[in-house]
């Protein structure tokens, strides 16, 4: 499969979405990114049992933090897909890129921290 997905998405590999902690997501926003999404395994199919479910809760929490900060909760999302769903990966990438484009650039980016 040679599927295209938007080139402005940078993929960061982690062993499991359960590895992604609140502060890690916040730090990426500090560095000026416009949005972050987690691509976890399908629910119920985590190799580490609950990693993706914990990630889901953390994303919810980060949403409340981003709302508090004033960046808006829509800049972070959680998606689930299996490693066999390449189509879905590309589709989600386009969906998220569209969503973030609609929200506009992060107000943090314009002014360097």
């Amino acid at each position: 499969m040679r599927l295209n997905y938007p080139t402005n998405i940078k993929v960061v590999k982690v062993p499991c979405t359960g590895r992604v902690d609140t502060l890690l997501i916040l730090k990426t926003f500090e560095s000026g990114v416009d949005g972050v999404y987690l691509a976890g395994c399908l629910e119920g199919e985590c190799h580490f049992l609950r990693g993706n479910l914990r990630a889901k809760k953390r994303v919810q929490y980060v949403k409340t933090l981003l709302e508090e900060v004033g960046l808006g909760s829509g800049r972070v999302e959680m998606y689930n897909m299996s490693s066999a769903q390449g189509q879905r990966f590309a589709e989600v990438a386009r969906e998220m890129a569209e969503k973030i484009r609609a929200l506009g650039p992060s107000p943090v980016k314009k002014r360097k921290l």
Partner: protein, 222 residues
């Protein structure tokens, strides 16, 4: 442990409005365990503050530091070499720690980042519950190990009141009636004779009503 809640970012931002250089201090004890003011929460708050200021095009410099405790001099003293470099200290410790910092660094403004709430236990990961109000005259031996001061909404010493229904307290239908818990426990322990005993009027001077309390152990003093 002492349990606290993080203040809202809004409230913290208002307090910090005049300042650009902030020393953000966590505490490694109770507030770490109750996930309010340990190293992680210091990191999250620092990040939130930086993002929020950056969004509005305002500067902020934050030094993050988490002390072993903020209620003991030897740890508080560790910030002495650099506290002077900051305009303000924002503490995530309990009220005791925050006050001790302020007492120690008299020329510094020390601000609270948390609301200190209660003495309690971890029910499950992420859930804490109040158990004791430090009344200074414990009656747990009379009440099956369940505190009537902390767990009855009215702190009744001889309950329940008429508002107890189906094991729930009248102040909130989701709240267990402390006195129903006590009775159930005494029954299970076969100690209902303790329930028949009237607990005398409490001398609240051992609690907050006698003013701030102090404990001294002469043998330990240097």
């Amino acid at each position: 442990m002492i349990v606290a809640d993080r203040k809202s970012l809004d409230e913290i931002l208002k307090m910090l409005k005049p300042y650009k250089k902030v020393l953000l201090l966590g505490c490694n004890e109770c507030v770490t365990v109750s996930a309010t003011g340990g190293e992680r929460e210091v990191g999250v708050l620092a990040s939130e503050l930086k993002l929020s200021r950056a969004k509005d095009g305002q500067e902020i410099e934050i030094r993050e530091q988490t002390l072993e405790r903020q209620c003991d001099h030897e740890y508080i003293d560790q910030i002495r070499p650099f506290v002077g470099d900051y305009e303000v200290v924002l503490s995530m410790a309990c009220g005791a720690g925050i006050q001790y910092l302020a007492e120690t660094y008299k020329d510094k403004t020390v601000l609270p980042a948390v609301n200190t709430t209660f003495l309690g236990v971890t029910l499950e990961q992420g859930v804490w519950s109040e158990r004791c109000q430090g009344c200074g005259e414990c009656v747990l031996h009379m009440t099956g190990g369940i505190c009537p001061i902390a767990r009855c909404a009215k702190s009744l010493l001889n309950g329940p009141c008429g508002g107890s229904s189906n094991g729930k307290c009248e102040v909130d239908k989701d709240l267990e009636c402390g006195w129903q818990l006590i009775i159930d426990r005494l029954k299970a322990l076969n100690q209902m004779e303790k329930y028949e005993e009237i607990i005398p009027i409490k001398d609240w001077r051992t609690s907050r009503d006698g003013g701030p309390r102090k404990r001294i152990r002469e043998d330990l003093k240097l």
